[in-house]
Symmetry: C2
Amino acid sequence: MRDVAIIGVGITKFGELWDKSFRALITEAGTKAILDAGIEGKDIDALFVGSMSPGRFIGQEHVGALVADSSGLHVMNIPTTRVENACASGGLALRQAYISVASGIHDIVVVGGVEKMTDVIGGEATDILAMAADQEWEAFFGVTFPALYAMIARRHMHEYGTTREQLAEVAVKNHDNGLLNPNAHFRRKITVDSVLNATMVADPLTVLDCSPISDGAAALVLAPLDKAKQYTDKIVKISGSGQASDSLALHGREDICTFKATVEAARQAYKQAGVEPKDIDLAEVHDCFTIAEILAIEDLGFVKKGEGGKATEEGRTRIDGDIPINPSGGLKAKGHPVGATGIAQAAEVVLQLRGEAGERQVKDAEIGLTHNIGGSGATCVVHILEVV
Amino acid sequence: MRDVAIIGVGITKFGELWDKSFRALITEAGTKAILDAGIEGKDIDALFVGSMSPGRFIGQEHVGALVADSSGLHVMNIPTTRVENACASGGLALRQAYISVASGIHDIVVVGGVEKMTDVIGGEATDILAMAADQEWEAFFGVTFPALYAMIARRHMHEYGTTREQLAEVAVKNHDNGLLNPNAHFRRKITVDSVLNATMVADPLTVLDCSPISDGAAALVLAPLDKAKQYTDKIVKISGSGQASDSLALHGREDICTFKATVEAARQAYKQAGVEPKDIDLAEVHDCFTIAEILAIEDLGFVKKGEGGKATEEGRTRIDGDIPINPSGGLKAKGHPVGATGIAQAAEVVLQLRGEAGERQVKDAEIGLTHNIGGSGATCVVHILEVV
């Protein structure tokens, strides 16, 4: 397999974007990535698109072809593939794009992630997102995603003494980071008190423990490492890629306080990259709920199991901490247009490794990690990116 | 890139399978493929699943993880990826699986395709399938798939003198083949008269020009060619793989009587395999409507543009003809559970190349081709398979 580089990134504003369509969002992100890479349309060999449920969000499947069409690349009859793995659709699309370049079948590949979630009414979005869980054994009985993660939070509190305030600290930190990110959905400071006193969604999680329903898109340009320098000097290498699954429903697991898919995907990625958790300078992890970030930093090996809450409370995961987590604001503050999330995570890490992250720049960042989850941990994909 | 072999195939009965769920269907097909290959669950490195719109057909996205779960492979935390490209989802899942083995990242990979379409009511299935077209520029204005293909048929008749009877001959031939396939949805003989006099769907296409709404699943086991002999002597090589796109809506094309995505995907596959159309002993092509098979045999280079109808009428595409097309019965008679179709096509070609196709066996078959279309030709994937 060939080494693969990311040579361009593009991202839209995330949020409730009433004036921007699915087509407009992905085309904007793709165009930005292409301009950033210094390539032209004719250089592109293939497209990959991550999107979770456009069939229900916008009444449109076949969004691979749609994206080629809306970006004008269909005139080249470019091969275009959509990947769907719930909220890990973006990360998995990146992995498929990576494998296609690594294999030698394609050279320059654009991979995008996109979701337009705010065109549906009221509880419909929650109903759609519940399809990432087990419809027959979870959603059918009324369990939505906040409820699944609330059960995980309760168990983590019971097993490890994690406190309600520690969960809130994840949201407070990610909102502080979001204030520094011009593209973030939420750019306002919150406090532990405001999290605790916000509207309850699923005990113990309030609305401020939950990532929002967002519109947005992100895109990356991939190239073989040995050809990347033809286009740009701003080269970041994909040094590790790991992917794993777990039971779709939580009841199928021995322990709901550990996501085995994260542990296994991370093991593969660390092994391929030849690094350990202590070598990672920053990580974008899947904080769909505050408890999810605590699980992630434990399962990725940044802290011991059970110590995620404490580490967060102590500020170790802040931008100036010893393991900065979600400097972008994470899903919580940057927003969570599901199909876009995995690509946006990689875009943030690339900007950090290039030293282009502005006010939220992590100092001396050389190795970064992305962690993208589908459902309540039934899919996980981890990538490790390095400065060349 | 490594050479890749198909070492196992499995297929379920296609049809209105009221007593079989999505989970049951894909697990049955996967189990059959695994047994056929002589491998065990622990040998499998990854799963790929093609499915078009389970989010609307069965209220379930995240079907990659669901399939790993329902087949028990989640206990190995196996990486599982869903690919969606409308009715080409199966063929594209095969291509992603092929690339992953060719790249060296995985050895033994199972790729399945599945759709459970008959649990929705009345016109709902047509509404769901319309999402493979352009929702904003086609479906919104009331154009369904039969209508899109009816317009293509009318234009083909106008441009090339293709007759209504020649279209019907495609259905008659595929029903004759379906009679010989125990897994086919329809196993009854029809005549040109019965096609012409059937209920009109979209002039000139009657209900007997249209493929049915089916339930079903199919699966393949892939392995590096140089390791395939460890498991089985029944080895078929994937010698070519091509993929291309076109505008999502028909109005974006210069000529609707040629699917440029087919021409380009075929060009890639022929080039990689080092063969020409005349070398192909049989093909499974995407006959979602009778006119689609006529376009396919022209665009794949088996006959000249405009002569597809005549070639069909002359019997050249029958099992004993000079270029047997859809010996399985095709989408028309075998059935069209959309996500399963691309995998089922490859399964049929593998059985033919092994000489295991029973009453529908094509004599001396050594090289076969599969042709899987998404929408009205916005995605096409072509594979060429060869006896080793």
